[in-house]
């Protein structure tokens, strides 16, 4: 669809706002880590890593340097690094030097157990760790969202036609309840009940990491039998998280689908179609669904960006080796470079998602104003 000048202007304006937001978040991050002295911890970790690499280089076989010489060079290098990173200066001069490194993710994971979450062993660049974890998170959320959409969009008009019925009231109650309880707590209950009490689901989901890599290697080698076996295991490990996230999001989806559909089913052209004697199914498919699908999708997908944060915690509960567990592990181990990188990447993903969705919004609904 070609975009007119007005839409382009709106999109351009959004892009500027969001870029300003990202820059502001970075500056705030610098202030937070600087004013609390947290950047000292992060920079020390960076310096430790660089010195380790430098020493390795110096003591490589064949370099022929005597030990005292190596120690002297290392000490000199340490002095140099401390000066470069400004550990001898007040925080407001120092924190700014951190920002460029964060933007290009030029940081190293400082704790081995954090790298272990994504199945790597140090030295690991934070970007590599996130590159492994992020898709796992997105896959889980996306599948749950698709399942929710497939249920909610056809069901919305069906409920809207039965406004005030027991079913309608039941759906509203269900939406209210799932809205009130945090998704991660529902996840806790699900893991406790089906994992620990009934034993029909796993209690820890970490093996999924190996299964996913097995799956891709089988896929590449076209091993169909192996693929089936691995797929069955993946299903075993993923059905509960998907079920829980779907259960928790479905209420909101149904509620908004119902709200949109109620407006549409009382429109004149729908009434006219009904008056012509068309069956309910036909009216819904032909006249209602087409109209409501767009608004529901944009409406709820806009919420997706906001809910990524919530899934991070749900993942922690499942021990699902995605972004959530990476957060949990790096907070627990005090891996400060990783925490900083995660905050940055989550913000970036959020803002990028927001931008894409707002562009979609402008394209789908030409009435959107600045």
């Amino acid at each position: 669809m070609p975009l007119d000048r007005r839409s382009l202007r709106i999109i351009g304006f959004r892009a500027i706002t969001l870029s300003v937001t990202l820059v502001l978040v970075l500056i705030m991050t610098a202030i937070i880590v600087g004013a609390t002295g947290y950047d000292r911890v992060i920079l020390s970790a960076i310096i430790r890593e660089e010195i380790r690499q430098y020493r390795e280089e110096l003591t490589r076989p064949g370099s022929g340097l005597p030990r005292e010489e190596v120690e002297r060079l290392v000490a000199e290098y340490r002095e140099y690094l401390i000066r470069t990173y400004g550990l001898d200066k007040p925080w407001y001069q120092r924190s700014l030097s951190l920002i460029p490194k964060v933007i290009v993710l030029d940081l190293y994971v400082s704790q081995a157990e954090v790298a272990g979450v994504v199945g790597l062993s140090p030295p690991v660049k934070v970007g590599d760790a996130i590159a492994v974890a992020l898709p796992r998170t997105i896959v889980m959320i996306t599948i749950a969202y698709i399942v929710s959409a497939l249920i909610a969009i056809p069901l919305g008009p069906f409920i809207a036609y039965r406004r005030g019925s027991t079913l309608d009231k039941g759906i509203i109650t269900y939406a209210a309840i799932t809205n009130a309880f945090p998704t991660w707590w529902i996840a806790m209950l699900a893991v406790a009940l089906s994992g620990f009490y009934l034993g029909v689901a796993p209690t820890s989901y970490r093996p999924i990491a190996k299964l996913i890599s097995d799956f891709t290697s089988n896929l590449l080698s076209l091993d169909v039998a192996g693929l089936a076996v691995v797929f069955k295991d993946i299903l075993y490990y993923s059905y509960l998280p998907i079920l829980v996230v779907t259960f928790a999001t479905l209420g909101g989806w149904l509620y908004s689908a119902r709200a949109v559909a109620i407006r549409v089913v009382s429109e004149d052209y729908v009434m006219a179609a009904k008056a012509r004697g068309l069956s309910e199914g036909r009216v819904v498919r032909r006249y209602v669904m087409r109209v409501i699908a767009g608004p529901i999708l944009t409406f709820v997908i806009l919420g997706l960006a906001g809910s990524i944060g919530g899934y991070i915690i749900t993942e922690t509960v499942f021990d699902w080796p995605g972004m959530g567990l990476l957060y949990y592990a790096s907070i627990a181990a005090g891996d400060s470079p990783m925490v900083l990188a995660l905050v940055y990447v989550t913000t970036l993903v959020y803002i990028a998602a927001r931008f894409i969705l707002e562009v979609l919004y402008v394209i789908l609904d030409p009435r959107v104003k600045l």
Partner: protein, 530 residues
């Protein structure tokens, strides 16, 4: 001028009081509203009870999980009432300040009288019990006895004896020592020697808790039952050999011995002349209070966690904290949103432009990552308790006022265009008067709805941060769930740990969202009417 301003202010307060009263009545008329008011009322009452009943240093107490009173509770204890559901439990029974049963000076009556017959008369358990006694008490001895009935197939976890001495000035506390000896007489007649130790009175002044020891009786126990097992294997779970009998020679499994148990504590005062000790005690210059506690596997209304902490008290503490966090954050958000929204809508122009651009940025910032960063930073900086929580709350407020500002601004814009505002302006009313007389009173009902809607957000955010591993050191509902998450292997099998805090979180946010919906349905038509 000043007079007028006061008049406007009083008018506003009167208006608020009136609308609050009528709003309350209207909310009560809705079923959903009634329900939410009842829940919130209940929460407020529980909060008051919690503030009154819990000690003021409860957070520190909760944190010191390796100290009493938690060490005196069963670990992973069930709630006591599960016995009515047919789940077999062993009760926790406390015998506070047990009454002295008998006291006398034990001395050998002649050269062949060792161990003296006196001892057998006052503590017959001494001679009959299984166990290695390294000491033979000669001197002033006090005997305390309590009985405990075990009826179920569950083993009590331990027996604790708590000793605390009080002494008058001038008593030499280091010269007198006390040797507590503990015997458990079982319903089947077997007597086990479960404790022996030695403490100076000085040590007892600060209180001493002694638990059972297995090493004393294990060897004779193995011989008594003819077991083919080592001390280590018998003692893996110390409570099983004491309250049960082995089912096989390997002692791999035990079965409880039910019936009435007698726990005997003999306190032997040594290090000084027995008569002098007797005199000190009868004068009241020295007194040792004795409490005996049989730790079952159930405790309190909501059981205990893996460290023996009373989960009911933890849950109770969460009520006022949730209300305080929820209300202060919601109030701050609405206050900022109200002020900036009215300014932005009423004055327009450059101020409006600046505020609107700021709002654009604010609503696009993802809150959780920033909260995590702040949380980790303050945790590294050593902040704990209320200061840490206040910082987290401030960050929550700083990035949440955007939405309210947008709503308030649009309402202000529509009111500003009303003819009566124009008329007031034409009559020469000051900006102050228009804002406080005509605009704010109309926004207040809306702001109240927004306030009520924003209450649960803050407490859910706090809980989420806790579960992610950020520890602010206060036992909130989120913190209790975070502890469960950290020990998921055992905690997830303890429904009394995982269920109640989450239910409270859900009930809390449900009540406020329901109240918000009710307020909105009341407020909405009124806004349209005007």
């Amino acid at each position: 001028m000043l007079e007028r301003r006061r008049e406007v202010r009083e008018g506003l307060i009167r208006y608020l009081a009136r609308s609050l009263r009528s709003n309350f009545k209207e909310v009560w008329a809705y079923n959903l509203g009634k329900m939410s008011m009842l829940i919130i009322g209940f929460m407020v009452l529980v909060s008051i009870y919690s503030l009154v009943s819990l000690p003021s240093d409860f957070p520190q107490m909760w944190k010191a999980s390796d100290r009493p009173p938690w060490t005196l509770n069963p670990k992973q204890g069930y709630p006591v009432w599960v016995k009515y559901l047919g789940i077999p439990v062993a009760e926790t029974v406390s015998y506070d300040n047990v009454r002295l049963q008998e006291a006398r000076i034990v001395t050998p009556r002649g050269p062949g009288d060792f161990p003296p017959r006196d001892l057998d008369r006052i503590v017959p358990e001494y001679g009959r019990s299984l166990g290695i006694k390294t000491l033979t008490p000669i001197g002033y001895i006090e005997v305390y006895r309590v009985s405990y009935t075990s009826t179920s197939s569950v083993f009590p976890q331990d027996v604790v004896v708590i000793l605390r001495a009080k002494a008058s000035e001038g008593v030499n506390l280091t010269s007198i020592s006390v040797v507590p000896m503990v015997f458990v007489t079982r319903p089947d007649g077997l007597v086990l020697y479960t404790f022996e130790g030695k403490y100076t009175l000085e040590r007892l002044v600060s209180g001493v808790e002694v638990k059972m020891r297995c090493d004393l009786f294990a060897t004779s126990y193995i011989r008594y039952y003819g077991l083919d097992a080592t001390v280590d294997s018998v003692c893996t779970l110390l409570n099983r050999p004491v309250f049960g009998e082995p089912l096989d020679v390997k002692a791999s499994d035990f079965k409880t011995v039910t019936g009435e148990y007698q726990i005997t504590l003999a306190l032997w005062y040594t290090g000084a002349d027995p008569r002098a000790v007797e005199r000190l005690i009868s004068n009241g210059d020295v007194s040792v209070s004795t409490s005996i506690r049989v730790i079952g596997n159930s405790y309190g209304l909501l059981g205990t966690d893996t460290k023996g902490r009373d989960l009911f008290q933890g849950l109770l503490f969460g009520f006022p904290v949730a209300l305080i966090i929820g209300f202060s954050v919601a109030f701050a958000i609405v206050a900022i949103g109200l002020v900036l929204g009215v300014i932005s809508g009423y004055f327009g122009g450059r101020v409006d432009e600046v505020i609107q651009r700021l709002v654009d940025v604010i609503v696009n910032i993802p809150l959780l990552p920033l909260l995590i960063l702040v949380g980790v930073a303050i945790q590294t900086g050593g902040w704990v308790g209320w200061p840490a929580l206040t910082i987290i709350m401030a960050v929550l407020v700083a990035f949440s006022w955007g939405g309210t500002t947008i709503i308030v601004r649009s309402i202000t814009l529509s009111i500003k265009a009303e003819p009566y505002v124009e008329a007031a302006k034409a009559l020469g009313a000051s900006t102050w008067r228009i804002v406080f007389r005509h605009i704010i009173p109309q926004i207040i009902p809306y702001a109240t709805a927004v306030l009520v809607f924003s209450v649960p957000g803050a407490i859910i955010a706090e809980a989420s941060l806790s579960v992610l591993g950020i520890d602010h050191g206060l036992p909130t509902w989120g913190r209790i769930l975070a502890d469960a998450q950290a020990e998921r292997g055992v905690a997830y099998k303890m429904w009394w740990w995982v269920l109640p805090p989450g239910l409270m979180l859900g009930l809390f946010s449900f009540a406020f969202v329901a109240l918000g919906f009710t307020l909105e349905t009341i407020v909405e038509p009124r806004l349209r009417r005007r």
